[in-house]
Subunit: 204 residues, 2 copies
DNA sequence: GACGATATCTACATGCATGTAAGTTACATT
DNA sequence: AATGTAACTTACATGCATGTAGATATCGTC
C-alpha cells in the first residue's frame, strides 16, 4: 500500500495550492505531529511527507524551519486565546456555571494541544511566543471581574488567583494528567471535578 | 580566556576518573543543560565539553546517547521520589503544616528540575521512565491516609484528590508558572499560597 | 493558444549528533 | 620497574535536518 500518488515510477501530477492553503495544511499536519509525537517529530521532512510536498517547498512557504515553528506556535496560541475568549463569553452569558468554564479551559489545553505547546515553548525558552496570550489572559481577568463586581481591590486579587489556579491546573492536567491519574487510580475527569469544586471559593 | 586544559597546543594531561565519578559529573552537567537550555541542548558534545571529555568517552560510559538520557531521567526521578519521601517524613512528624508540605513538593518540581523533566518525558512519550514515581506517589498517599485516618473509603478518595491537586499544580507552576504570574502581576509564591490555603479543604 | 508568475521539484551542499574502530595513556597491581 | 586493564582520545563513517540553486510544471491571464 503506497501513500504516493496514483502510480510509482511515472511522474505524478503536481498539485498546486494557493499559499494560504499550503500553509494551513502544513500547520495542521505540524500540530498533529507535535501533539502525537512530540516536538522533535515536527521536521520539514515529516510535515512534507504528510501533506505530499517536499521539505524544500515548506522552506519556500515559511522561509525556514524556524519560520514554520513560529507559525505553528502563533497558530496554536491564537486558538488558545480564541478559546479563552469563548470561555469569557460563555461566562458573561451564564455566570455561576463553573464546570462549563472549567471544561472550556481544560479542552483548550488538552484537545487543542495548548498544553503541549506551552510546555514546548517553556522548555525551549521561546517565551516571546507567549506574548499574545498576555492580552487574552487580561481580558479573561477583566471579564470575570465585571461579572463578579463586588469590592474593588479584593476582587481583582481573588480573580487573578482564580485564573492562575485554573490555568496552571489545566496545563498540568493536559501534559501529565493522564499518567498521574493512572498512578492514583482516578477517573479521567478527576482534575476537572476538583477545579470546578474549588473555583467558587475564589469567586464567592 | 580558554576553558581548555593548562595550555593549548601542548598535549594536556589526561584526567582519569573512576566510572562512577565520570557518570556523576556527566549527569550533573546534563541536568544543568536540561534545566537551563532545554532538552535539545543535552547532546553528547555539549555535556562532554562541559566536563572536559569527548563525546566518544560519554558513549563509553553510557553505551549510547539514549543511555545517557535514560540515566539522566533515572537520576532525576530518584531525586523526585526522594523529595516526596522526605515530604512524607516531614508530614508524619509535623502534620497540620500544609505550607511546609507544599514547599517541599514545589521545590522538588522547580529547583530539582522535576517539572521540566516530567514535561520532557511526557512530550517525548517515554512514559516508562515515570514508573518509579508510581511507588513514591502511592507511598505519599498511604502516609497521608495514615496521618489523617478518619473514615476509610472517603479518606482515600480525598487524599488521592489532594495528591493529584498538589502534584499537577506544582508541575504547572514549575514549567509555566513564572510567565503566567508575570502576565497576572502576581508575586512569586502566589501559587504556593493558593495551594497551601486550599489543601486543608481536602484533608479536613 | 501563448505567456508570465510562482508553486513545486530535483539535486546538491553543509552542519550536527551519533556511532565505531583503533590507538594512547593513566593508574593499580605485581 | 614491568604489566595489564580500561579510561580516554583521535579519526573516520553515517544519517538526518536544514538550506540553496536551478529546472519544471501549473494555473491564471491576455
Amino acid at each position: 500500500m503506497s501513500i504516493e500518488g496514483p502510480e510509482i515510477g511515472t511522474t505524478a501530477k503536481r498539485r498546486r495550492r494557493v499559499p494560504e492553503v499550503a500553509r494551513r495544511e502544513a500547520l495542521v499536519s505540524a500540530r498533529r505531529l507535535l501533539i502525537t509525537s512530540g516536538p522533535t517529530a515536527v521536521t520539514l521532512k515529516a510535515v512534507g511527507d504528510e501533506i505530499g510536498v517536499t521539505h524544500a517547498n515548506l522552506i519556500h512557504h515559511f522561509g525556514s524551519a524556524a519560520g514554520l515553528q513560529s507559525a505553528l506556535m502563533e497558530s496554536m496560541v491564537r486558538d488558545l486565546t480564541d478559546a479563552l475568549g469563548a470561555a469569557v463569553e460563555q461566562l458573561r452569558s451564564n455566570p455561576g456555571a463553573p464546570r462549563a468554564l472549567v471544561d472550556a479551559v481544560f479542552d483548550a489545553f488538552d484537545q487543542g494541544g495548548a498544553g503541549r505547546l506551552a510546555a514546548w515553548i517553556a522548555l525551549s525558552g521561546d517565551l516571546q511566543h507567549l506574548e499574545p496570550v498576555r492580552a487574552a489572559v487580561r481580558d479573561l481577568v477583566d471579564a470575570i471581574c465585571e461579572t463578579f463586581a463586588a469590592e474593588g481591590e479584593q476582587t481583582h486579587h481573588r480573580v487573578t488567583s482564580a485564573v492562575l489556579f485554573i490555568a496552571l491546573y489545566a496545563f498540568g492536567d493536559a501534559v501529565i494528567g493522564a499518567p498521574l491519574r493512572d498512578m492514583l487510580d482516578r477517573e479521567d475527569d478527576a482534575g476537572r471535578k476538583i477545579v470546578a469544586r474549588l473555583l467558587p471559593t475564589f469567586l464567592f
